[in-house]
């Protein structure tokens, strides 16, 4: 500001000074040329008075008188009207008579005005010259003026130390310059801006250069000659004061700036640096570094801010770590879930792909993410409509037990498609669970319950049927004996007995299925049983079926009823035979296994232990799953009229009653395999089977107490016993029986009693009776299976049990065993 003001003042000063200088020079030039002007005018006046211009004597005299004391004319010429020199001062004979008509000074001089010529090189002196010419009546007077005076004038002007002035003619040719050679060499400087402007009539002040030096040039016209005056002032000189002030000010500003910088540095180290630290810390937070904050003690306010900031950093860090941990945990959960989990966006691009998917498709997470889900997992295409529905309408869709999603019919899947919204984008989550085992378990459970219900039903029916069949069989046999000699009567009674026998077998099979039959457990070697049974088996199987045995040696024993076990083997073998109508292979194998857990979830598990297993497999037609689910149901048969539908039901019942398990594997067209697992016994094996005599014989006689609430059974039994030679005391319930026992306490050899009876049951009655005769033999007879096992398992000494309906010879045999 100050500098500008100074500059402005200085400029004004220069202009004023230049104006004064120009005025002075102009005045001096004017003065310089005013004298020749005057003299020439006087001369003109004189010449006008002279009649004969060629009169040398008069003219020369006049010229000498007028010009004798004047030193600035180089030459004064008088030309006639043709331009020929007629007089010359100082006189030079050579010039007299010369023709000046071609010279501009002659051509440009008019009659009225005084003419000043441009500068030219004088033909007389050979130097830059200017001429003043006036016309008079007989010719022209020309005065040639040496410009040396002007040179002197200009040279003497002091313009600072390095300044100078120049005069040029209107063409820009130098007339006067401190370096005289420029004028002598007629240097034209019209290419200089200031001269070019001057020629156009533009004068003023410009900055220019002359010989590498910078000048302020002020121009002005010298109007008399159309000349131009240029004053050059050395720029540095002119502005030296200004520059020194400017320099001082610049230095001052620089010093101030440096001081400011130092102060700023000091302040910034206390304020800015801490803020920068905070800035760095903020960036660190952005990059996820939370433990990098370092603080230098600053102002207390900033220290507090920093402390809070540090706490905030640690809190954010800890929170982020928690979130990361949670994220990772969630990711692990999702990854480790057995469910197949897929996330898709609204364009079906995969956004989530869990570990189960990677395992299934062998496609890594990175490969799957972003791919079209149906390209990545084509099996899902069947669900495209559901996924679309879920994304577009936000509906959750659950599909249960879908069977054919991966083209594996034996597998069941639950598919759940649920809407996902993340970052305002719609998508869907798809979860696929393999529920095959659950479905199978469900089916087995249903089957198991069904079998249990059927078992109960069978047990109930069996009891009543047994009570009905017992007299039929008993009286049938009595009738047969009675009609000893009547052949027709024999035949009829045999038909009755045969039908009753079939009915009894049927009831027995039902009881086997309902696990209510009476079993005789012995510790058996299953391999031995199989080898013994082998002969019978071979007879039952046609030759086009190859039988092979793989029996593992050293098996543990099993607690089993041998007959029942043989029944199981036979039933399974016969089924296998029927499945291989065109021949095949029947494989029977045994083995031993320690089971920690049940092989099938539906097993009523009794705890871990050793099991002996028996496997019977065929290469037959196999079974459809629907058939396989029903094979253990009573009366379910695929053999039409040929089968009773009770074979596998019995197998099932027998194995259940042995606390064993049975599994079946079958595929349509690939055969069937039954595996039976029986708990291994700790006892040593008993291989031999007791043979019992079934021969008929007479009774030994004596009193027997018979207590039976069913009249037909009681009557039939009493009749048979009487027939055998016993005296029979009959009672219809426990009380009555006990009374009869009290009355004949010592005579009664044995008590034969039903178990379930009104008023007092058989068991209670026996307990009371044995208070008097603890060793009295007792035979329980019952067709009500629920109690059979209980009795059988806990029979006191001298006691036996006979299941209704019974054969009479069996009854007789037991009585004999007990009494004797």
């Amino acid at each position: 500001m100050i500098s500008t003001l100074l500059s402005w003042n200085l400029s004004r000063d220069i202009e004023n000074r230049n104006a004064l200088l120009t005025k002075t020079i102009n005045r001096q030039i004017e003065e310089f040329f005013s004298t020749p002007n005057l003299i020439m005018s006087q001369l003109k006046g004189l010449l006008e008075l002279i009649d004969d211009i060629e009169d040398h004597a008069i003219i020369d005299g006049e010229l000498k008188a007028s010009l004798g004391n004047v030193d600035f004319f180089d030459q004064v010429l008088i030309l006639d009207k043709e331009g020929v020199v007629i007089h010359l001062y100082p006189f030079n004979d050579d010039i007299i008579g010369n023709d000046f008509s071609r010279q501009p000074l002659f051509q440009d001089t008019t009659e009225k005005d005084i003419h000043w010529s441009p500068v030219f090189i004088s033909s007389i002196t050979g130097k830059p010259t200017v001429s003043i010419s006036l016309s008079f009546s007989q010719g022209i007077i020309v005065g040639q003026i040496d410009l040396a005076y002007l040179f002197k004038l200009i040279s003497e002007i002091e313009i600072e130390k390095k300044g100078f002035a120049i005069i040029t003619d209107q063409r820009g040719t130098v007339i006067v310059h401190p370096d005289n050679s420029l004028s002598e060499q007629r240097v034209n400087i019209s290419n200089r801006k200031e001269v070019e402007d001057g020629r156009k009539g533009i004068y003023g002040r410009i900055i220019t250069r002359w010989d590498e030096r910078k000048y302020i040039c002020s121009s002005s016209p010298i109007s008399r000659f159309n000349w131009m005056l240029f004053i050059y002032q050395d720029y540095l000189e002119v502005y030296s004061l200004n520059r020194s002030i400017g320099l001082t000010m610049t230095l001052t500003i620089l010093v101030a700036l440096i001081v400011c910088l130092i102060l700023t540095r000091i302040i910034s180290s206390r304020i800015l640096n801490p803020l920068l630290l905070l800035d760095h810390a903020t960036r660190d937070i952005t990059r996820g570094y939370y433990d990098t904050f370092e603080w230098e003690t600053s102002y207390s306010e900033l220290d507090r801010l920093a402390e809070n900031f540090r706490k905030m950093m640690l809190a954010i860090g800890s929170r982020e770590r928690e979130i990361d941990g949670l994220k990772s945990h969630l990711a692990n959960i999702i990854d480790s879930m057995p469910s197949l989990m897929i996330g898709v966006d609204n364009e079906f691009h995969v956004s989530l792909w869990n570990g189960a998917m990677v395992k299934l498709t062998h496609m890594t997470n990175d490969q799957a993410i972003g791919q079209n889900v149906f390209d990545a997992f084509p099996s899902l295409f069947s669900q495209k409509d559901n996924i679309e529905k879920c994304i577009n309408h936000g509906l959750s869709i659950e599909l249960n037990k879908v069977r054919n999603i991966f083209d594996k019919k034996e597998k069941y899947y639950d598919i759940t498609i649920y809407p996902l919204i993340y970052n305002e984008n719609r998508g869907a989550g798809i979860r696929i669970d393999d529920v095959t085992s659950m479905v199978n378990t469900e089916i087995m459970m249903q089957q198991s319950e069904k079998l249990n219900s059927l078992g109960k039903l069978s047990a109930g029916i069996s009891h009543d049927l047994n009570n009905m069949l017992t007299p039929i069989l008993g009286y049938g046999e009595l009738l047969k004996d009675h009609l000893d000699k009547d052949e027709t009567g024999q035949l009829y009674s045999e038909q009755i007995l045969e039908s009753a026998e079939r009915a009894r077998n049927l009831v027995r099979q039902l009881l086997v299925f309902s696990k209510k039959q009476n079993l005789e457990y012995k510790t058996l070697d299953i391999n031995y049983v199989l080898l013994e049974f082998q002969k019978l088996l071979v007879h039952s199987i046609p030759e086009n079926i190859k039988i092979s045995f793989q029996l593992q040696e050293g098996l543990r024993g099993v607690n089993a009823d041998r007959g029942q076990l043989e029944q199981v083997i036979m039933n399974l073998a016969i089924n296998a035979r029927d499945a291989m109508t065109n021949g095949g292979e029947l494989n029977i194998s045994t083995g031993q296994i320690y089971l920690n857990d049940p092989i099938e979830p539906v097993w009523e598990w009794n705890g871990a232990g050793y099991f002996v297993f028996l496997t019977i497999s065929d290469t037959g037609q196999g079974m459809e799953p629907d058939v396989m689910n029903r094979i253990f149901e009573p009366f379910f048969s695929t053999k039409g009229n040929r089968g009773s539908g009770l074979g596998l039901s019995m197998v099932y019942g027998i194995i259940e009653q042995h606390k064993g398990y049975i599994t079946v594997n079958s595929q349509d067209g690939r055969g069937t395999k039954f595996s039976i697992y029986l708990p291994a016994s700790d006892n040593s094996k008993e291989d031999k089977i007791e043979k019992t005599s079934s021969s008929k014989s007479q009774g030994r006689g004596g009193k027997l107490l018979l207590v039976e609430d069913d009249e037909s059974v009681r009557t039939m039994t009493e009749s048979y016993l009487v027939k055998l030679g016993y005296q029979v005391l009959s009672g219809t319930n426990g009380e009555e029986g006990l009374n009869l026992f009290s009355e004949n306490r010592s005579a009664i050899k044995m008590i034969i009693t039903d178990v379930i009876m009104p008023k007092m049951n058989g068991k209670e009655m026996v307990i009371k009776a044995r208070e008097f005769r603890p060793d009295i033999p007792v035979l329980y007879i019952s067709g009500y299976s629920d109690n059979l096992i209980n009795y059988k398992d806990s029979l006191e000494p001298h006691s036996a049990f006979l299941e209704k309906p019974f054969k009479l010879d069996k009854l007789h045999e037991i009585i004999r065993q007990l009494i004797f």
Binding site: V84, N98, S101, R102, Q103
Partner: protein, 370 residues
């Protein structure tokens, strides 16, 4: 500081890019004062004009041309001193000199290794067809033939006298020496040359009288045009009616000779009435720049300067005189305002010749060819 570095660099780049490139300095040596200064000044002006034109269009490869002018004042010693001065200033290309006399006086410089002279008005035959570091944009070799034809065939003159300005003695002597055999071969007689020297005491009358006494059929001026004009004035006053001719063709002859030079005939490579566009442009530009009419010296020097400019443009960065001379000789075809010029193997330019006569204070071109 690091943050400020780019700004500092930008600042420095601006500063340096603002700095003007170093000018390419070319010397000029000419007679700018005294006799023959009309030719010298015209030569300098012409070169100045050519340089100003090229500078306005960006210079040579961005470098402006600077003409360093030296006035030899027609003095041999001064001329040699000026050449030395130019050499000291690191200048090795010199346009000039402008007179044959000076050219012959500085011959030793023509064989300097790193120095190249390009002259346009040096017309002494003594320097014709010499392989040196002096390229001439003019030659007089064919002029003697043409002048003989003019004198004998057209004007019927067989006796002439030469007027020799001693300040350019070399040129005149060379001229006469070359001309004489041609003229004499055709039966002409060359009278002994009249020498004169211009100083304060010079009497043009006496010079004219000396000529007059010889009664030559023709007077041929070989000197400065101002002096020639003034001698013509005296001859006219003496009543000489013979044939006049001058070697140089400038307006000074008419200015100072007045009516006495009416009918004077000249042979020149310069046709002031040429209508070629390039010539008219040069004429207009010269007048605009210097407020004067151009002459032959302007034309030749302008063409020589243009030739140099073309060579410098074609060979950027080259200032080695030997190299540039080779480039000149190799190029051999140069721009001329009145038609292209051809340079021979010695660096001399051949030009067509024209015939002129002064009529009513103006130079007229004669249609006749010689």
């Amino acid at each position: 500081m690091k943050k400020n570095l780019p700004f500092v660099l930008i600042f420095l780049v601006i500063i340096f890019s603002c700095r003007e490139k170093e000018p390419l300095k070319i010397g000029f040596l000419g007679t700018l004062t005294g006799s023959f200064s009309d030719i010298g000044i015209a030569s300098r002006n012409a070169v100045t004009l050519a340089f100003e034109e090229v500078n306005q269009s960006g210079g040579i490869g961005g470098r402006p041309l600077e003409l360093v002018v030296k006035d030899d004042m027609g003095d041999k010693d001064i001329a040699a001193a000026m050449v030395e001065e130019l050499l000291k200033g690191g200048i090795n290309i010199i346009l000039g000199p402008t007179t044959s006399s000076i050219a012959l006086s500085i011959i030793p410089f023509f064989s300097e290794e790193d120095l190249l002279f390009i002259s346009s008005t040096v017309s002494t035959t003594e320097l014709d067809n010499i392989d040196d570091n002096h390229l001439k944009f003019t030659t007089v070799s064919s002029r003697s033939q043409k002048l003989t034809n003019l004198l004998i065939d057209i004007e019927g003159i067989n006796q002439v006298v030469f007027l020799n300005d001693l300040s350019n003695d070399s040129f005149a002597r060379g001229y006469v020496k070359t001309f004489t055999p041609f003229f004499e071969k055709r039966g002409g007689t060359v009278l002994p040359t009249i020498d004169y020297e211009i100083d304060h005491d010079t009497s043009y009358y006496e010079i004219a009288l000396e000529i007059y006494k010889l009664k030559p059929q023709g007077v041929i001026f070989l000197g400065d045009n101002r002096n020639s004009g003034l001698v013509c004035q005296q001859l006219a006053k003496l009543g000489y009616k013979g044939f006049l001719s001058s070697n140089a063709m400038t307006n000074d002859l008419i200015l100072h000779g007045g009516s006495s030079v009416e009918g004077l005939m000249m042979i020149s490579t310069y046709d002031p009435n040429n209508k070629a566009k390039e010539f008219l442009d040069l004429q207009a530009n010269y007048r605009s720049r210097f407020g004067q009419d151009m002459n032959f010296a302007v034309k030749r020097n302008y063409e020589a300067a243009r030739g140099l400019i073309d060579i410098l443009r074609d060979n950027p960065g080259k200032t080695d005189s030997e190299y540039l001379k080779s480039a000149f000789l190799e190029k051999n075809q140069f721009f001329g305002v009145q038609g292209d010029l051809e340079m021979n193997e010695y660096g001399d330019v051949e030009r067509p010749m024209y015939m002129f006569i002064i009529n009513n204070g103006a130079i007229e071109t004669l249609e006749e060819t010689i």
